[in-house]
């Protein structure tokens, strides 16, 4: 009996250790990539110069490159990656389906449409655009939910409706881009697949606080999310206020998605891939919100570095994550077909 008990405890400890180790390593990886983002570029500055610039010292040339160009880009990469990763993982866990990611079922596109319309067509500032993005994201989430309710709610139906809405919204984005005044290629690419090009410090404050506040809330709701994952009946039986919890989780996730989208555009597949990768690395028992956020940050930073420096042409980050994500999407769709829609 005592020996058997030891076995149970050891299992708990091992899984917890694995979770902590993986989360820590992901954080270290994010830090290393961040340094690389500050280091790489047309002119490479030494670490001591980078540190001095970040501390506020004015150095000819370096200050502009690092503070104005590289640092906002790095911060946007981290924050958008965290936001997409945490929000995607929340949706996937809550709906118990890896396909139920906001960038597959149209929520990201909804936010993107609003951002394009307000920034490129109406030319308002980013705060207004962010608010519009949030509202549009929530609206699309409600729309998908209402349309997939019908006689009986099914996850498979919701995903197909979401994919349809996504296609429709992407068409609207293309249309708006063609109509907009500044239909230059970088802007177009940002709103179609996401990019970190030309992000300025002043655009970052909203995203920064959104990630801390709503990401933090999602992290705290991790245990509730894990109970919700057991299905409606088990969750109620365990004393969870399911409706309240769901609304809160969706709100947090949509805020994260929408604000990140209004800054970087919909960086393809980061929300979709982060959760499954984090779960695979950190194990499934403990809430994967935090590792999923860190995985998202790693993906965005890494993809941006690859996009900027690996080829002769510079590609925006979303093109690289898109290439990584598409095969996994196809794999899941094939699996969904085989298992009769359950995925």
């Amino acid at each position: 009996m005592t020996k058997k008990n030891h076995y149970v405890e050891e299992g708990f400890r091992k899984r917890k250790n694995r979770f902590i180790t993986v989360t820590f390593l992901l954080a270290v990886f994010v830090l290393m990539l961040s340094i690389a983002m500050l280091y790489l570029g047309n002119t490479r500055y030494s670490l001591s110069v980078i540190v001095r610039v970040l501390m506020g010292e004015q150095i000819q040339g370096a200050s502009f490159s690092i503070r104005t160009l590289r640092y906002p880009r790095m911060l946007a990469g981290i924050m958008a990656g965290m936001a997409f990763g945490m929000a995607g993982s929340t949706f996937q866990t809550m709906l118990r389906n890896p396909l139920a990611s906001p960038d597959i079922i149209g929520i990201t596109s909804g936010s993107s449409v609003a951002a394009v319309f307000f920034i490129l067509v109406l030319e308002v500032n980013t705060t207004v655009a962010s608010i519009a993005s949030i509202l549009a994201g929530l609206l699309v989430a409600c729309l998908i939910y209402v349309l997939s309710r019908g006689a009986s709610f099914s996850g498979g139906k919701m995903i197909l409706i979401g994919i349809g809405i996504q296609a429709m919204l992407n068409a609207v984005i293309s249309y708006l881009l063609l109509r907009a005044n500044q239909y230059d290629v970088p802007a177009a690419l940002r709103w179609l697949s996401g990019s970190l090009n030309g992000i300025q410090s002043k655009d970052m404050a909203g995203l920064f606080w959104t990630v801390w506040i709503f990401g933090g809330l999602l992290f705290l709701l991790g245990r509730q999310l894990k109970i919700l994952e057991l299905g409606e009946h088990s969750a109620i039986t365990l004393g969870l206020r399911t409706d309240q919890t769901r609304v809160l989780l969706v709100m947090c996730a949509v805020f994260l998605i929408a604000v990140a989208t209004s800054v970087t555009g919909p960086i393809s597949f980061v929300a979709f891939l982060s959760g499954p990768i984090a779960g695979w690395l950190a194990g499934k028992g403990i809430s994967t919100i935090l590792p999923a956020g860190l995985t998202g940050a790693v993906m965005v930073l890494l993809a941006d570095i690859i996009g900027q420096y690996a080829f002769d042409t510079r590609f925006p980050v979303g093109i690289i994550t898109g290439i990584l994500g598409a095969p996994y999407l196809i794999y899941l769709l094939i699996r969904m077909n085989k298992s009769g829609g359950a995925a």
Partner: protein, 275 residues
Amino acid sequence: MKQTPYFTASSLVAGYDKKIIVNNIDIIIPKNKISVIIGANACGKSTLLKTMARLIKPVSGEVILDGKQISEIAPKQLARKLGLLPQSPVVPEGITVSDLVSRGRFPYQSFLKGMGKKDYEAVKEALDIMGITELANRSVDELSGGQRQRVWIAMALAQQTDILLLDEPTTFLDITYQVEILDLLTDLNQKRGTTIVMVLHDINLSARYADYIFAVKKGELISQGTPFEVITEEQMKQVFELDCAVIKDPVSGSPFIVPKGRHYVMVNESIEINE
């Protein structure tokens, strides 16, 4: 001496949308006993159980636990007293047995504080009672149906409730596992005094394991009592519209139904049937 009512429903009406499925049921669940609800398919027995477990909001009437309406008890408080094993619970992909069982401790955890010493003890005890300690670190996906069902019951046990409701806990299981699960539930009732209420399909197993049987037909409670009082030829005709003979279970002595039907293969009486 009559006990004060403990877990009851009165004038309970419940259903989905506008369809009434449970029609004006009054029921008093005997404390520390095993009660079984039987009835034909779609008679409302499962809806009755779900309404008593607060999964369905009643249209009218009330469910009372310890003198309080369950809708007025705080969800987590209620979850420490009343547990339910749903008919087909959802297994999160890749979760290990002990992680799943530990989720039964949710009602005891506050917003910020995670698993404590007491929680780990409860999980270990639940695994031990269900005889699945060896499976603790295995993934639930890999287990057989019977093993999985034991994991779910272990989760409900970790919840440490006085009352455990089970919606057809033996469905889809081989007969061996059906008997095994019912034996384990009886152990639990005898050791901890847990009040068990379950919906079962098999009348003969119900008769064998139940202290008390409730028979439901078309949303109404039409018969209740000990197995000997409920499992009779007349009552079975009434509840299931089935002609049957009731004999004595050769193992337990409880009533045992043998359906009549219109066809059967005649066995030549001169051939000895192997015992």
